[in-house]
Homo-oligomer: 515 residues x 2
């Protein structure tokens, strides 16, 4: 059994005439020594069973602990001779999808993971429509109940499949964007979407599971990652925690492309963040490219070495039915590197040949012909789609440039790591993203895919009490910059709309490939 | 409106694009500035109404606050334009009697007071019998419900008579001895009365009114004064707070004679305490002398200047029915000063004359003859009663001597104040107590009657947030000494069993009176 997490088995000093302080202060003293801390809170339900339990257990106890901003708290005491373990659940509270992991808090082992669509989608697919729904009577409670209900249902399912009781779960950690965090808690989110964009709360003090109607142990605690602001949520703080950005010596960057694109750059001494949603350039932005990943969706595109034709790969290798974001970036890179689109991002008829068709005055590039398609229709990329992708990739590059160069005063080459987080990031091919000038042309080994960093951070917090203080430190030390979309930004953005960029010297590896 | 207590009306910075932190952190920031503090907790129910309320109230709010060991907490926010005030209730949770005061937390004005017998008396008159009752199934819950129920009933009564709602009460502070505190909270008290006398808890973290089923505002908080040990409870800490002992430059002493006799001596630099119940000498001790004060009970006895006969006074001047503690001490003093008892505390037949009768071999002094008595029977003091009083007064003096001289290394003359607290203390005549050698022979103006210091301390805590830290400091800095009943103690005790003492030089004023 590890002795560094939120479950400790301790031996308490036996009372005597010469050592006759109370049982609670005896437990407090033991825990303070064990944890090296100054402050501890013992709730009434623990006091109620303390004298009999300590004596029945020969002054030993398995103590389930958690932290608050101000002190440690005892959640429960358990017979140390009992079989059975103490568990926690980490939740990535995504706008579209919710993912949960079940963790054994004594061995720090992950037992299982479960993902499901956010049931709030029935109310509205995006945050904006959901927040508007809260203006209806009971709308906020409905949204909150939907997500809490589905979380409860899937916690029960996770427990069932691993043969444990929901009462054995004592801690839930959750990370979501600011709006989702509010809707999870049933908090008024209307001001988040109205100028000047004010969340109800940034730092959420620990809540009891009972208070939120989360069906775990009734004395369990719920921690939600704090927000920085309306457009920089707890999911990002969880991501920073997971990537260890706050511990690095050399500057690193993390970009999380989910519903928005959020960027953090920094190291153990400083952290600067900005969120893409602030700029109109990202309207219909990165995340809106392509369709959601599912079987049959094209996720990879590459140029055949010999034929120079475009090859595709689909998820589960089913007949193609569409293209997702990462496939789209691969496709754009392939089109550009093969000369099928020019540096302005326009289709080149002479190179595309019969693949290019005109539909109602708009050029369409046929990637998959109807005979090979799972939809029995051509799978195309229109000039309109491509323009939108061009804007998105330009916006991404410009935001990276603004934060790394203009704000942090670094060059891209100074970054020792470039983490790509989020669902989109899990599949993106950095080589393709560099080829179209979406990501900077730095050594490919600099890039690292983090996967679900929001869930990763939430899991980390269950395992490591020090993470709690790191989270509060990250939140406090981070500088959030509003993206100022002024003339300078627009000039930079214009340059980035070219393939790979008007200033090709920034992309030496691409220049090499093209020549 | 005062602005130093637990209710503050504050103006919060308006949000703007340049100042777009969350409403909660905006409130937190405002309060931290107002209170000069580092840490604050805002509960979910306040977050739920925060955005709409702040905007409806033009970013002003009346904030109801309380403190915990670790931080301040917001209990509620209220429309600052609303009439109506915020109230608190202080409770002296006595073993025999419970007294409550209703305080306006905005003006610090006391509106009313109500006292009632502790309904646990139906289970057992003393702590011991009540704790034994907890070994029965449901016994502990029964005792807790009895006291909570009667507190609720009398809070409602207090509110009714002052035209306020129970929901306007946000804070309850309570002070009781260690056992009563446990029974109030429904905590296992059995170990308190078994060697080595271990309370379940000494420092009780704040509780919610809801958790204890106390019917005030559902978001209200309950604070109980911490204990030092099984025989030194929160009522004493409240007394020290009320007497300002922890602020004095010169050493002072406080003795609280309730169910036990507890003594604290010290100043702002040090505090030493001991409780009388620790010594077998106090068995059947001070508090057991005489009957409870009620109409017809003899509370004063004095020697008629001319006739040298004994005069009496009864409560409400009814026909005498018995004698209470203070009357008993007056009586013993009068008997001794008039030569009716000798220095060994034995009746002197020659002086008592016909007032002394023999019943079954035991001498009885007739204070009131049956014809003048409300009980139509003689009201007597037997040699057995007198021996018991002699033991009690000797025990009291010895304990005072041990703590002041042997432990603190002071002389009684070094004490700048000698506070007498508790129900018994409210009526005791220091002159009489000195005459029998129960209290030391120091200038009469040194003595000060504190009244119900336990209630006084609980009231103070409602009015002054600094008192919270003082309480924790008092608890932490106090040195509790177990009364070591060894040969030395018994020798001192033997000397103190004389009237006023074997060493008469200690009582010059009495020697003067006798000569």
């Amino acid at each position: 059994m590890q002795e560094s997490g939120f479950v400790r088995t301790i031996t308490i000093e036996q009372p005597s005439l010469g050592n006759n302080t109370s049982d609670a202060q005896r437990l407090e003293h033991g825990l303070k020594k064990e944890l090296g801390i100054g402050s501890l809170n013992i709730p009434l339900h623990v006091l109620k069973k303390l004298p009999l339990s300590l004596r029945a257990w020969q002054f030993q106890a398995k103590v389930v602990l958690f932290k608050t901003r101000q002190s440690w708290m005892v959640l429960d005491i358990i017979d140390p001779n009992c079989d059975g373990n103490v568990f926690g659940v980490a939740i990535d509270i995504g706008t579209t999808r919710i993912v949960m992991a079940l963790i054994n808090l004594e061995s720090n082992e992950q037992l299982g993971e479960i993902g499901f669509d956010n049931p709030q989608a029935a109310i509205g697919p995006d945050i904006l429509s959901r927040i508007h729904h809260t203006s209806k009577t009971g709308g906020l409670e409905e949204l909150s109940s939907l997500v809490i209900g589905s979380v409860n249902q899937h916690i029960a399912q996770l427990c069932d499949s691993h043969g444990i009781c929901v009462e054995d779960i004592y801690i839930v950690t959750g990370a979501g964007n600011t709006a989702m965090t509010h809707l999870f808690l049933g908090l008024d989110a209307m001001e988040i979407i109205k100028e000047p964009y004010i969340p109800c709360v940034n730092i959420i003090d620990n809540l009891s599971a009972r208070q939120l109607d989360i069906k775990i142990n009734p004395h369990g605690a719920v921690f939600l990652f704090p927000n920085i602001g309306s457009y920089f949520g707890g999911d990002l703080i969880a991501g920073i925690l997971y990537s260890d950005l706050d511990k690095k010596q050399d500057p690193c960057l993390m970009v999380d492309v989910g519903t928005n694109a959020e960027i953090v750059v920094g190291n153990r001494d400083w952290l600067i963040a900005c969120a893409g949603a602030a700029g109109p350039a990202l309207e219909g932005g990165v995340s809106k490219m392509g369709m959601t990943a599912k079987p049959g969706v094209i996720d990879k595109v590459w140029i055949d070495e010999d034929s120079k034709e475009l090859n595709i790969h689909t998820i589960e290798e089913k007949f193609p039915i569409g293209i997702c974001g990462s496939g789209m970036i691969d496709l754009a890179a392939s089109l550009f590197l093969s000369g099928r689109i020019d540096i302005r991002g326009k289709f080149v008829k002479e190179v595309c040949k019969h693949h290019l068709v005109d539909k109602e005055g708009i050029q369409h590039f046929i990637l998959v012909e109807e005979k090979d398609s799972g939809t029995h229709d051509n799978i195309c990329l229109s000039q309109v789609d491509l323009n939108s992708l061009t804007s998105s990739k330009a916006a991404m590059y410009t935001i990276l440039e603004v934060i790394v160069k203009n704000t942090a005063g670094l060059e891209f080459e100074d970054l020792s790591k470039f983490y790509v987080a989020g669902t989109f990031g899990s599949f993106i091919n950095p080589v393709s993203a560099i080829s179209i000038g979406m990501l900077p042309d730095i050594p490919i080994e600099t890039f690292e895919v983090l996967g679900n960093s929001s869930l990763g951070g939430a899991i980390l917090l269950l395992k490591d009490p020090d993470a709690f203080d790191r989270v509060m430190h990250i939140r406090q030390s981070i500088t959030y910059i509003e993206l100022n979309v002024n003339q300078e930004f627009m000039n930079m953005f214009s340059g980035a709309k070219f393939y790979p960029h008007t200033d090709v010297s920034r992309f030496p590896s691409i220049t090499n490939k093209l020549s």
